[in-house]
Subunit: 511 residues, 2 copies
Amino acid sequence: MNGAESLVRSLLDAGVDTCFANPGTSEMHFVAALDHVPGMRCVLGLFEGVVTGAADGYARMTDKPAATLLHCGPGLANGLANLHNARRAHAPVLNLIGDQATHQAPLDPPLTADTMAFAQGVSVWTRRATSADRVAADAMEGLRAAIEGPGVASLILPSDTCWDEGGVVAPALPRGPRPQADAKALEVAERMLRNGRRTALMLAGAALREAPLELASRIAQATGAVVMAPTQVKRVQLGQGRLMPAKVPYAIDPALEMMAQFDQIILIGAKAPVQFFAYPGKPGVPYRADTVIHTVTRPGMDDLHALDVLAEALGVGAALPLPAAPDYGPISGAITAEAFAAGVAQLLPENAILVDEGVSFGRAVYPALAHAKPHDYLQLTGGAIGDGIPMATGAAVACPDRRVVDIQADGSGLYTVQGLWTQAREALNVTTVVLSNQRYAILEGELKAVGATQGKTATDMLTLDRPSIDWPSIAKGFGVPATRVEDMESFAKVFEAVNAEDGPHVIEVMI
Amino acid sequence: MNGAESLVRSLLDAGVDTCFANPGTSEMHFVAALDHVPGMRCVLGLFEGVVTGAADGYARMTDKPAATLLHCGPGLANGLANLHNARRAHAPVLNLIGDQATHQAPLDPPLTADTMAFAQGVSVWTRRATSADRVAADAMEGLRAAIEGPGVASLILPSDTCWDEGGVVAPALPRGPRPQADAKALEVAERMLRNGRRTALMLAGAALREAPLELASRIAQATGAVVMAPTQVKRVQLGQGRLMPAKVPYAIDPALEMMAQFDQIILIGAKAPVQFFAYPGKPGVPYRADTVIHTVTRPGMDDLHALDVLAEALGVGAALPLPAAPDYGPISGAITAEAFAAGVAQLLPENAILVDEGVSFGRAVYPALAHAKPHDYLQLTGGAIGDGIPMATGAAVACPDRRVVDIQADGSGLYTVQGLWTQAREALNVTTVVLSNQRYAILEGELKAVGATQGKTATDMLTLDRPSIDWPSIAKGFGVPATRVEDMESFAKVFEAVNAEDGPHVIEVMI
């Protein structure tokens, strides 16, 4: 058995049965092993950014890593942006990155690059395999690191470690339970929740699932604390009967305004909030300088246990009934941000997965989702745009029985538009709703924020309307049917219809 | 004057008047300065890989750097693959990469990444600016490094170095002449060319322009040496009346066969050839173990001077007349690799720029070009696919009066297909000829080469025909007119017609 085969067999034994791939020459022995050993679902992306974003989406929905198969150096580089998002989401991903054979690398062939440095920038664990007999064991260490992180683990595979004979199938490594919060940290949090000061209970990562959110909402109701989430979240379970955490606004002034109320912030699986970008003369964090920050659990720890202990210690009661859904009026008229958000919330299918890369126009969607049917909400977490189409693709691979809806800003969607083809190929149940404003609207706002007026050169760099992008044509080119809509009635009609059908569809919403 | 304005003014003073850009929030002050100070042509790409590949193409045609404007961390990461190609081409590029403000970076906002490590992997020079009063001087050092390398220089711009007042316009730094070959190295080369042994005169980089090639061809005729070029070249001036250097074949067996004949290899601006990838049991370099390798000039040195000295020392005569063009028959019938290559060669407009990312099917094009009208031939040099559409875009920006023809493999073209939009927006004279075989044919060959039979899983990872990609629809979506052709008559008719028109066109050639 060669190294590649031992690797594939070990991955399958350990439960890694999905591989998002864009292979190159240095990965051919691994491809041959995937071909030869049955059991791995291989999903091809036309570009590595699709591959890595799909692995991120898959991980968020399954809580286990998919493998990626990436080509050496520049191939990995093409996938870094969405690995950065996965890193910031603490999403488990196991990258398998081909590389020059051990003896070829010193000759510096043209494709040789510093694969190690590229991988380290996004990974909690990085290793270059050195021999066929160790390569499967290396992968099992990487897998454990990805799951325990949770995060991105990267195994670099010189091609000789795959083609050499002597591969040894390696067992999955034992994993301990998630670390629990320190008793002292819990006591401090309890005291803070009783001291009558204005408190944010900031949740992130796994703490935003239904069970911990329900505990947090009971704690909040008992103590007057406010349940909050970061500006961009990995995955929140939202909808009727669930508490919607408020998110820290992206724009600095609303963020400062919202966070100024808090005397103390208790962190459950979350980091203290920080502004995405600095602005001249404004603070780098949205909370007050005298706000007390207290960490109960860090990412990867047992958030549910911590909230359980706190709820018990505080003797909180059952959650109060949440407010009933508003009486939605008919869906009609012009496509404003608010009408669009309300329409999506009203029509979102039960148990849908909503991927939000709506950027500027889509910012009204999140608050409207409080009264939608129960669903999962995913978002790019690292600010690296171009995650929406790939993440929706991976989520749909992970959950074939659920509808995935990607609320997609046009400028961001064009980064990784090739992902539509994978949706067509795999017949994935994804509705991509493109918000077509034909500009980088968020940057127009940012330019205004720095006090500049917008002249011709800046306009040329911030607008996408010369020529107009024709999304239905692009989607058709990649094999995905598409419809353009210009008012809310048409949007509602198309959105309902395609969500009930099998397979992908693109709706271009002219805004 | 703030740092950004001092930077823009210094770049313009130094002759950098073109900026390929995909900005983000951290670059808004630089965008404002570009808007405020007239003179910089800013060309927007929808994805950073388009931006960096265009800068590569621009540099190859002008021999001077364009600036790129890239967003921090993941933005740069998206552009790394084509910067890798530029690095391998020794093409001068000056990257301006936004980053978190100096005081914000330690707070680790979501978009923060190891921008420095990413940049160092592709750059001959990398620096993080530290203050507004130094930022323009930093850029001038980077510019000199890019030109002298020649290569990629990367200046990371924390946003406060752009927005702070106190910017100081900096003058371009003096640059010395290109280093000349060592006299001893020239004497050794002369002796080698006289010793009667079988010799390859291997040229790369600037040595493949018309004047040095002409000298090399006279030396070859006088001494029996063979003029050669690497497998993938930065830029060769080809066509009627010019010697066509033989390229080292990509595939290992033909490469070994060709190079086995040589007792000695003399390098002018070139590295000794190395195989793109290792294969089990095969050597890593294509030449014999006893072949003598002698370096006369390295990249960036004065190749023309070296060849002049050698020609003089050897007393070579005028070049013999080159053979006349073959009598091309009518262009008709099925689209075979040979018919296609002959058709392109016959119809290529005078003084065209031919970008070759034809990969497998396109491999017949290069030899056929010997008898085309005089033209420039560019190729991706680092093996990072997805350089064709962006490089053609940059070459067309550099040379608005010349027709650019991109011979484009379909799988590679899909990596950076967004570049078509920039061609439409800038009304660039680019004909993109997509070779649509709907598969990664090169990888099918590589899989065969490793001795594997191709089963369903491998086929799924190597084919693009489920669903078929519809290039005319995609092109139309990006604003570029497109035509599909299925036989040589139609190809010839469309190719001639669109080459005579202004603006871009895509021809999808079904093969």
